[in-house]
Symmetry: C2
Amino acid sequence: MTTLNDIAKHVGVTTTTVSWVLNNRQKEKRISPSTCQRVRQAAQDLDYRPSFSAQSLAKGKTSSFGLVCGGLAYPFFAEMIDFAMHETRQRNHHLLLAATGWKLEAELEAFEMLLTRGVDGIMMYSNAVTPQTDQYRYIHRQQFPTVILGQKSGDLPLIQTDFMPGMMQAVEHLKKRGCRSVGYVGHWPASREKFPCFEQACQYHGMQASKWPCQTPHESVLATSREFAHHRNRPDAAIIIADNSAIVFMQGLFQEGLRVPDDVAVIGSDDISIGQYINPPLTTIARSSEMIVTQALDWLVEMTQQKKLLLGAELCVPTRLVVRQSA
Amino acid sequence: MTTLNDIAKHVGVTTTTVSWVLNNRQKEKRISPSTCQRVRQAAQDLDYRPSFSAQSLAKGKTSSFGLVCGGLAYPFFAEMIDFAMHETRQRNHHLLLAATGWKLEAELEAFEMLLTRGVDGIMMYSNAVTPQTDQYRYIHRQQFPTVILGQKSGDLPLIQTDFMPGMMQAVEHLKKRGCRSVGYVGHWPASREKFPCFEQACQYHGMQASKWPCQTPHESVLATSREFAHHRNRPDAAIIIADNSAIVFMQGLFQEGLRVPDDVAVIGSDDISIGQYINPPLTTIARSSEMIVTQALDWLVEMTQQKKLLLGAELCVPTRLVVRQSA
DNA sequence: ATGAAAGCGCTAACAT
DNA sequence: ATGTTAGCGCTTTCAT
């Protein structure tokens, strides 16, 4: 492995000079063009690659941010992370990803791992960092740039999704279609925020509400859809926790001989890109992952610059109904 | 930020001792239990976190692998990466991701970035590293652990997908269904490997073949599907480069009043998990991302241990037809 | 059972 | 226009 020193010896200067040249400080430091030339040539010839570890150790920063999230298997997250990687790069940083399989303990471990790796800030798509945790205290003590993407946790910078407007529009829309009763299909604890909005919206619009719990895996959603289809008091609409699950749910309905939206109107959540191309195109409660990511990164950058937390910062990203043909 | 030294002073020992304790070398190095105890306590009290940069600089390795790929937006990749992250962790490594937007130049840059960050090995889901490139030479000179996921590049360790068996089965299946003519829908250069298999399979089975180029974005696929639908010599089947695009293609067909599979039989590629839940469930040419990832990681581990490339290593992952209802 | 010292590759303040 | 020097936080060999 080639080091700055190797180049320095090869050219007959010191590592300092080499460092300056390779970091394009030649103007500022007044290095002669010929030296520059020779240094660059040597770097090329010797196959030089800078060492990130050494650089960040010396500089005390890594120019990278961390993102902890459950996983990439759900398209909404995949799309969000894809966007986050681009945006991070725009800000001259690298994104370190930690997928946790939605386990609280794994989320805290991921946080530790990212700290250890010296990231300059962390986005937590998780509710694991509560005021009771070591991590929460660390963030405060060190004023370590952190943004929570989820539920309020003390005074940490927070980006929340406001499911209320989308949910209200959804229920209202179902009402207008003539629906009398609607079921909420989803898993817990992921429904902690969504379900109360659902209940409230139903109450407001005088819609009969019911709850259809299921697990995350597709098979579980399918099972729930069958149960739903055969229930003697089958609702005439369903609002499903995620677009992916909504697609599966509709398939279950079809298999039981029901038609969407005529027998059951179906509304998904998140607006994943494939949703508009399935059959029938999926009506859904949309939210903008772009807004979430953009704001989170901006705050991270700001906090790293000011070297302090934006205590109490809060953004609430609205949702809205996108009407297609499934409801 | 707390360092080993801070702990050492606090406890009244040297950094060496602290290092040993915190790395659980107390047996081997015969550290007294009481010292251990005090060191650990201090680490806890002082909120100590090891510095990855310092550790890897001192040890000369990072315990991480890199994966460069086009992006996460396509579910097959998202699922593959999700799996890769888990498997990497199983092997006590971390996965550094670099998404390139499928641009050759970006792929080489990503490779450089990962080298700089000192990863212990790289998986390239890319054909950017040809024998003409600097990177290819570097890999050989340094015997740097690399696995190419794509097309043969000199004697670098290679994992390829063999599209032939799946394609043969697909065309045979269409034939049995009574199809006479089939169109290939896809974008280039991603079709470089698939399309020749398609042509060969059609020739073998005496099926009339045609080519329907499109771009990656959904809208472009939709446009192609309309063109396809209205063509005076419309094929009675279509094989599409990716499941995602197949879903969009079917939607386009529906919009033009055609039925799948009766008017046009549709076969996708890759077998993404949502495929079986759409309407009609998607017949597809499946391949195993698990096999690819598992083998790539095993080779990487082996190469890092032996400190040399597995020159000429090759694995060819087979494809197979999964028949559902779209064809 | 523990310490001293060198070094990993790079940066940056201060010379000259 | 370039060199000297002192770290950054950690591991490791060799002493004691």
